[in-house]
């Protein structure tokens, strides 16, 4: 009887700790994704403004040069753009929506900023494109600082909250 109690309390404790840990991890993941996304967009900017590379090729180049956590998305956008014969690249940006939310743990405003880039990409001349890149990078910078402060505030909180809740449930049950 005592053994069963022990095993199940351990199980409850580990589950609660894991839930807290992974919930806290999301904030770290979002920050990392935003930083990598910024790098990737910078690479894309260089490809387009200075390399004058065609868009599908530029996107593939970004996926080769950027950090793999985010960069593979650009490869997917490029593939989608070619294979689905999209009339506007924004639809390709929309096709990876679920991955932005689930794999990169981005918030709605982050996705909107990223899509804002997709809406103007390849629609005007280089000077206008450069302006838009600058705007997007500035916005992402703001989001990064916001994500950083959110991470500092919440990551530790959720981790300790998980552990404490686990211990609390065990105490109530014993």
């Amino acid at each position: 009887m005592i053994l069963i109690k022990l095993i199940f309390s351990f199980l409850i404790f580990t589950t609660c700790t894991a839930i807290g840990y992974f919930h806290g991890q999301k904030f770290d993941s979002r920050l990392q994704s935003l930083i990598y996304l910024e790098q990737c967009i910078k690479i894309l900017e260089t490809e387009i403004i200075y390399g004058l590379t065609p868009l599908p090729e530029a996107l593939t180049n970004v996926s080769l040069k950027g950090k793999s956590k985010v960069a593979y998305l650009f490869e997917e956008i490029s593939k989608d753009l070619i294979s689905m014969k999209r009339d506007h690249i924004f639809h390709s940006f929309q096709s990876i929506e679920t991955e932005l939310y689930e794999n990169l743990h981005l918030e709605k405003e982050d996705v909107e900023v990223f899509w804002g880039l997709g809406k103007v990409l390849g629609t005007s001349d280089t000077i206008d494109q450069q302006k838009n890149f600058k705007l997007t990078l500035k916005q992402i910078e703001g989001l990064i600082s916001e994500a950083k402060s959110e991470k500092n505030k919440n990551e530790k909180l959720y981790r300790s909250l998980g552990v404490i809740t686990g211990v609390g449930i065990i105490i109530l049950l014993i």
Partner: protein, 65 residues
């Protein structure tokens, strides 16, 4: 007399105190207040039987029924 109950309530009190501090530090004062309240309610739920027994005993002792 069940001595385990005292330890249980002591443990609950410690946990609630830690929870209060953690939540307070991260700027969620209203949740901290709420958890403290919940802790008090749970502790009260644990001892409510004993309190009712005590009143019954008092009633029986002074023949107030």
């Amino acid at each position: 007399m069940d001595i385990d109950l005292i330890f249980k309530i002591a443990g609950l009190g410690m946990l609630t105190a830690v929870l209060h501090t953690v939540l307070n530090k991260s700027g969620k004062e209203e949740y901290a207040q709420l958890t403290t309240l919940v802790g008090v309610v749970i502790a009260l739920g644990m001892v409510i039987n004993l309190i009712s027994k005590l009143f019954d005993n008092v009633k029986a002792l002074f023949r107030l029924y």
